[in-house]
Amino acid sequence: MIEPCPAAARRELANDQLRANLANATSTIRAKRARVVAELDDWEDLREAGRAIKADVLAHLDAYLLQFEAAATAAGATVHWARDAAEAAAVVTAVAKRHGADEVVKMKSLTTDEIALNERLARDGVSALETDFAELILQLDDDWSSHILVPAIHRNRTEIRDLFASTIAPGLVSDYPADLAEASRLYLRERFLAAKVGVSGANFAVAETGTLCVVESEGNGRMCTTLPPVLVSVVGIEKIVPRFTDLEVFLQLLPRSSTGERMNPYTSLWTGVTPGDGPEELHVVLLDNGRTRVLADEVGREALHCIRCSACLNVCPVYSRTGGHAYGSVYPGPIGAILTPQLIGIENAKTLPFASSLCGACYEVCPVKIDIPSVLLHLRRRAVEAAPERGERTAFRLAARVMSGRRRFVLAEHLARLGFAFRRLPGPLRAWTRTRDLRPPARTSFRDWWRQR
């Protein structure tokens, strides 16, 4: 299913429906974001505070993790630590089995996608029902997400109607969005009311108080985290924020950057277990899964500041044309290009840092000021060091020799003028000319012109 970037990108570019949807979606969100950000005079101050808080978190992550564990435990939660995807999924499976649940209801969580939770649970006989509208669509159709925030953006309303009519809502005729939403509401309500175990992620985990915070629009997150008697929250260790007060920064940065609203419909914050209100049993899984590897890279660790708003996706000229499937990773777009190679190892994702024009638009909109272009350059260097290509090395060595001697350089210029008959370069250089037009060399070289002047 997952192809390396350039090949996947080529395939996605040929999909007209996707390109139309993406163009519409990304330009709409860009405009909304710009409007609500312009309303705040202190936007840049908020960005700087957000950046500084996240830097502080990473600088003292061990202390904050321990503080979170203590506070959450005192509030009635059971805190688990998971080194990798398998360990995290094992916690969820064990909890489900202990409560005799063969189905769990879950809200959208990139972290759970990252660890392939649904597949792992399925192998152990537990099914995970996706309740986020877009995730439900993808699950019913065995498809996967193309955008962090609007995962089914590559689908239009008629496709969704057809899908629902053949699965959860037989006889559904209307493709009017409100009717599609109603169909999913009715179908999922039954399952929410009966669910024994809910699974969530978290946008933020407050170290000081042991509080988890989830930011959403539909209400399915509230359903999953409030109705079932048991809740398991899977939280990447980078989601920590130090103090409850710090949420005043992030709860302003996130909604405006992601959906371009002043505030999203529902934000839920829960601290351990509250008797009589919500789950009676709460498990929190603190997940590493490569994050400590990212942390160890002095330049790359900025990627862990990400608050998953997707603003970078919407401004990226590459993403807004190819969509998420082209990246072959759970985290697409600019943030994906710097996070995924670090999480799974640069040797496993060496084309991702190159899926960029380095325009820097992502850096400008990032609410926590992640310098994505610098990290991309850093990772490109690491990619080359990890797997140097002999042909490329030789070519550069040759070029260096030619350019460092006047006679050699002049000769090369003459040859280039003669050889320009070859518009398309041969062999491995073909890739260069396939997407670029070579300009003909000047008839007179600069030095000759200078001499004759």
Binding site: N21, A25, A52, F133, L193, S217, N264, E298
Partner: protein
């Protein structure tokens, strides 16, 4: 044998990013702009909630007529909801209604803890007037009474008041900004997926 916890902490310490500069908090944390209540009402209305501004005396009638307009006859309330805010008939007090029982309610009436004008947000904090979280989630209609005195301007002001409720009492919080919505279908915002599709906000002077 090292546990996962030990190993993760060891790796975190090994990465050792080192000291960082102090956090600059130059963003706006206080505010006293004029037109607070108007701004709140406008911004809640922006989310397509139904906003009504009334005097204290008129609150009771306004709530009852909001419920009647929608034909809501079975109304859930938190046990601590003032009598003046309850409709004359059909009231069901929430002493731990099951999810299925909540699903039989036509609507709920609650108060709130605090409201934010800049973002048109209402915050429920599990208090005696706000009710349990499930109460304002399952039924299709939520009538929320906001006292003008409860409105602050910017989010940091609200967070600083909520801070003590979370640190000392571990109260669960729900920030509500309009009825439930999704933008998943070709990005057109559609109201009402899982939370209440109808949100009525009664602002009392």
């Amino acid at each position: 044998m090292t546990t996962a916890r030990d190993e993760i902490l060891a790796r975190v310490r090994y990465a050792a990013p080192g000291a960082v500069a102090p956090i600059p908090r130059t963003y706006r944390r206080e505010s006293s702009r004029a037109g607070l209540v108007e701004r709140f009402c406008e911004r809640v209305a922006d989310y397509r909630a139904d906003v009504r501004r009334v005097t204290a005396e008129a609150a009771s009638d306004e709530i009852t007529s909001a419920l009647d307009r929608r034909g809501a006859s079975r109304i859930g309330v938190p046990p601590g909801l003032p009598t003046a805010w309850r409709p004359p008939a059909g009231v069901v007090e929430d002493h731990g209604l099951s999810p299925a029982e909540l699903d039989t309610l036509d609507g709920v009436v609650t108060g709130c803890e605090i409201a934010i004008a800049e973002t048109g947000t209402i915050v429920l904090a599990g208090g005696s007037r706000d009710g349990r979280r499930a109460l304002t989630l399952v039924p299709d209609l939520h009538v929320c009474v906001v006292d003008e005195q409860q409105i602050v301007d910017v989010l940091p002001q609200a967070v600083s008041r909520l801070d003590v409720l979370v640190r000392d009492e571990r109260r669960p919080l729900t920030f509500v900004s309009g009825p439930s919505a999704t933008s998943d279908i070709e990005l057109s915002r559609v109201e009402g997926v899982h939370g209440p599709r109808d949100l009525v906000v009664v602002v009392v002077a």
